[in-house]
């Protein structure tokens, strides 16, 4: 048993980070009504600022400015910590003022998208400013010398210190919330914003203050933990954020102690998995760590019921309007013709950009069905795509199943995963569902995609996939010495067009009406005889099938499948770019495809400016935030609205004359 105690205590570092992140998420949710998916990424930046200061430089987060200010030498801990925390405070305040304040009354999905944009921006910033991650070592801050708890249990002291700090900060947060007027008013505002206004407090001030407080807390956590946990752009962004979301849900984004205790426990239990994997033969070797937060989140939602304060739940989960779909030669023909001609005429780099765009369009289509029509959300779309891609490799290589059947079967397997991850949607809505799918996607990624049993040996480039071959007609991208065959591009366009027509048809059909009815009003839908549960699961099924086809297309393009194409960031980007293009219609998916990273828009822009490439992700993230704030309808929706307004303006005088 002492072994387990050892690992449990060893997990105190992770547990403390999770607990304090969860507390930060709770503070932001209570104060501003926002679940900030970028919280870990923001905190990472402060950690990097500290690390950089300790080697004598301060990094500027704005492209175009000089990369850093050089002090020359280590500024010392007593300068570095306050400066890094000040950075965190400014960051929190700027992020609130620029991003979340304008979105205070926007659809909750716009908040989710904006925070994904932020997350992308901070990851890109870190990858740009700290390209030499490996060289960044941080000296110890907390006392390190080992401490002996029991006869044969000796652990480093710093993890226990961090846990003690987490508990102390938890106590502080609890006391502030319980005994100060500020805490009381914040709690009141979380229940009822108007009430706080009547008491003479500005909700804007409360929200801004909570962002600053949470950001400083996050920064502090990462700084203190950075000597123990190697900094990277993703470890705090995802690996600790997702369990923190789980812990915050246990505390219902409200109660401090359950949140802190759940966070500490998750970290400790995750740590014992190392031992369980060697003690229990059937214990999963991959994905157990990431699976735990998913299970915690599901249990929290099922057992405790859905209880995010009203501000961020159903009532504000409004979505852009859904235009009618028109499938005619005039709407379908020109885009296909343009794409095919461009594929035949332009060079291989352009062809590559077009292929990237077409595949991204397919993934965006999957979200048009799920989010645009169905009102559900998924941050796991690329995980479904990946399941199909790996299945395709198995089906085609191990069982020699031929071309059109193998990808359809593979997408059907993705459908099964989609329906399973979608099951919580029967009870859970809006932002909570975003959290569920976020955790579910990561669990799939780690459980399936990192497991050599399913995906083969990654060192050989991943699982191989043969070229699509239609009765002897090879449609592959590479054949013999031809490295970029246009026929593969045309194959992609045909598949995408078929799916697009299918999605437009769905919109016009009885199923589309049921989806939209359910999206509009679940109560009224069931009163009208619509089986809401079935409709939601159908939305997940259709959506993950399309995503699965998208995954197969990616697999065919690269000739093999590796987990790099199907990570969590890719899933977030898929939702973000689909929202950006316009999530409620097929033309929005086409726009999304054009806008995707390395797609046609970025490729042509980089042809003009030359140097855009390295800032592509960052620009994408910023664009996303700007779009979410300025144009919650998406680009295609915005353009359509402007046309509609103009048409109405033209028509109005005619009617007046009559």
């Amino acid at each position: 048993m002492s072994d387990y105690l050892f690992y449990l205590l060893l997990g105190s570092t992770a547990g403390a980070i999770i607990a304090m992140f969860a507390l930060g998420l709770l503070i932001t949710q209570q104060g501003a009504g926002v679940v900030n998916f970028a919280y870990g990424a923001m905190a990472s930046w402060s950690g990097y600022v500290y690390a950089d200061l300790r080697r004598g430089a301060y990094p500027f987060p704005i492209p175009g400015l000089p990369e850093r200010y050089h002090f020359g030498d280590d500024v010392g801990i007593w300068v570095a910590v306050p400066l890094a925390l000040l950075t965190a405070a400014v960051l929190g305040s700027v992020v609130y003022t620029v991003v979340f304040r304008p979105l205070a009354h926007a659809p909750a999905l716009a908040n989710v998208v904006a925070s994904i944009g932020l997350l992308v921006v901070f990851i890109a910033l870190i990858d740009q400013r700290f390209a030499d991650n490996a060289g960044l070592r941080v000296g110890p801050i907390l006392p390190r010398e080992p401490v002996t708890i029991m006869a044969d249990v000796t652990v480093p002291r710093d993890g226990l210190w961090l846990a003690a700090i987490a508990i102390a900060i938890g106590a502080l947060a609890w006391a502030v919330s319980r005994f100060t007027r500020f805490g009381l008013v914040t709690r009141a505002a979380a229940e009822n914003e108007k009430g706080a206004v009547l008491l003479g407090y500005s909700p804007t001030f409360l929200a801004g203050a909570s962002f600053v407080a949470a950001s400083v807390l996050g920064g502090l956590v990462v700084i203190l933990a950075s000597p123990m946990i190697q900094l990277s752009s993703t470890v705090f962004t995802f690996s600790f954020l997702i369990p923190a979301l789980g812990a915050a849900m246990i505390g219902r984004f409200r109660s401090v102690w359950p949140t802190v205790i759940a966070g500490l426990l998750i970290g400790g239990v995750q740590s014992t998995f190392t031992l369980l994997q060697s003690d229990i033969s059937w214990f999963p070797k991959y994905g157990a760590r990431e699976g735990l937060p998913f299970v915690v989140i599901i249990v929290a939602l099922v057992v405790l019921g859905e209880r995010l304060p009203d501000r961020a739940s159903v009532s504000t989960w409004r979505l852009p309007t859904v235009p009618d779909a028109k499938v005619t030669w005039a709407t379908v023909g020109p885009p296909i013709a343009v794409a095919v001609i461009a594929l035949l005429v332009l060079g291989p780099l352009w062809r590559g950009a077009i292929m990237t765009s077409v595949i991204a369009m397919v993934l965006a289509l999957s979200l048009v069905v799920l989010t645009g029509f169905g009102g559900q959300t998924s941050l796991a779309q690329m995980a479904f795509a990946g399941v199909a891609a790996f299945s395709l490799s198995k089906l085609a290589m191990n069982w020699s199943i031929p071309f059109p059947i193998a990808p359809i079967l593979a997408a059907s397997i993705a459908t099964a995963f989609g329906v399973i991850v979608g099951l919580p949607a029967l009870r859970v809505r809006g932002t909570n569902m975003a959290i569920v799918t976020f955790a579910g996607g990561v669990a799939i990624t780690e459980f399936v995609f990192k497991n050599p049993k399913y995906v083969g040996d990654p060192s050989t480039g991943g699982a191989p996939v043969p070229n699509p071959d239609l009765a002897g007609w090879d449609l592959g991208l590479i054949l013999g010495d031809q490295a970029s065959r246009p026929i593969f591009g045309i194959f992609l366009v045909v598949i995408a067009a078929l799916l697009a027509i299918g999605v437009a048809n769905l919109r016009r059909s009885a199923s589309g009406r049921r989806l939209l009815a359910t999206r509009s009003n679940e109560r009224a839908a069931s009163a009208a005889g619509i089986d809401v549960a079935r409709v939601k699961l159908q939305a997940f099924a259709v959506s993950s099938f399309i995503a699965g086809i998208g995954g197969c297309l990616i697999a065919y393009r690269f000739g093999n499948v590796s987990d790099a194409s199907f990570g969590t960031i890719a899933s977030l980007a898929a939702l973000a770019v689909a929202y950006l293009g316009g999530i409620t219609c097929v033309s929005g998916a086409v726009t999304a495809g054009a806008l995707t990273a390395s797609g046609v828009v970025f490729y042509s822009a980089s042809q003009i400016t030359g140097t855009l490439g390295q800032w592509e992700t960052l620009i994408g993230g910023v664009l996303l935030i700007v779009m979410a704030v300025a144009n919650p309808q998406g680009i295609a929706g915005g353009v359509r609205n402007r046309f509609a307004t103009r048409r109405a303006a033209l028509r109005a005088p005619v009617r007046a004359v009559r």
């Binding site: 009885a510 049921r514 939209l516 009224a524 005889g529």
Partner: protein, 264 residues
């Protein structure tokens, strides 16, 4: 046997019995009304009948079938539909699509066919929807979105949507609230026309003029209990009803004939 039979229907919220042992029948081909002061439990009764709120005790039988295990949508598919006080239209769908969504029936696999042939119609769905549009006189606004309509038109859409599947019984939750006298009379005429077409109605409303003129049979609810039942003529003169509405020792002529209260 009546079309709808509630027996000993009891709904508790916390310790409070919002409905307490209600016995109520809706005969086919009739308009049955339920009146009572605010907070008497009228909407709770509709919620309980349609499966939107759990029933603590008692039973509901519809068309000879016990509804205990039926979900709200299953009840609607059996021919028991309702409207909402707050209308709850499908704001993302045009008026026609609002009605179609309510009239169409689906299976687990229907979306597969829909992807290929979106405009196919099943059975007489189009006829039913046209009939509902005719009845509610909505043909001029079929392609309009609900948020472009007047309040009166929105009420008609809510009614037409409940009719679109040609149910056996429609429960109307304050259909006349917010309508002026003329609109309210027109609504009364619409209700009678619906009954002539073979659909039975159950209605709760505060508009006593409407209720007394349009209902064949009236129940009076107070503090969750039925305190009177009879024809409008009987109810009009029932002393218990007068008490419930206006307190003790009030003359019959002071009964509120036309109140315009909203909500409960």
């Amino acid at each position: 046997m009546a079309l709808l039979e509630a027996r000993g229907l009891t709904v508790s919220y916390g310790g409070i019995r919002a409905n307490d042992g209600i016995d109520l029948d809706c005969e086919a081909g009739r308009v049955v009304g339920l009146i009572g002061p605010n907070g008497a439990g009228k909407t709770t009764f509709i919620d309980a009948i349609t499966g939107f709120t759990p029933v603590a005790a008692g039973s509901v039988t519809f068309d000879g079938r016990d509804l205990a295990s039926a979900s709200p949508s299953a009840r609607a598919r059996l021919g028991l539909t309702r409207t909402f006080q707050s209308l709850e239209l499908f704001e993302d769908l045009s008026v026609r699509d609002n009605l179609l969504a309510a009239a169409e029936r689906s299976s687990w696999w229907s979306f597969v066919g829909d992807v290929v042939r979106p405009r196919r119609r099943h059975g007489d769905v189009a006829d039913r929807v046209d009939w509902a549009l005719d009845t509610a006189d909505l043909h001029d606004v079929v392609d309009t979105m609900p948020d472009q309509l007047s309040h009166g038109q929105r009420k008609l859409v809510a009614m037409a949507r409940a009719l679109a599947a040609r149910p056996k019984l429609v429960l109307l939750d304050e259909p006349a609230a917010g309508l002026d006298t003329r609109e309210s009379q027109a609504f009364g005429a619409l209700m009678r026309a619906v009954v002539v077409d073979g659909i039975s109605l159950f209605v709760i409303d505060h508009d006593m003029g409407l209720m007394l003129s349009v209902c064949d049979d009236l129940y009076v609810l107070d503090f969750g209990k039925i305190i009177a039942h009879g024809t409008p003529e009987v109810i009009r003169d029932d002393p218990a009803v007068i008490d419930a509405y206006l307190g003790e020792s009030t003359a019959p002529e002071q009964l509120p004939i036309h109140t315009q209260e909203h909500g409960q």
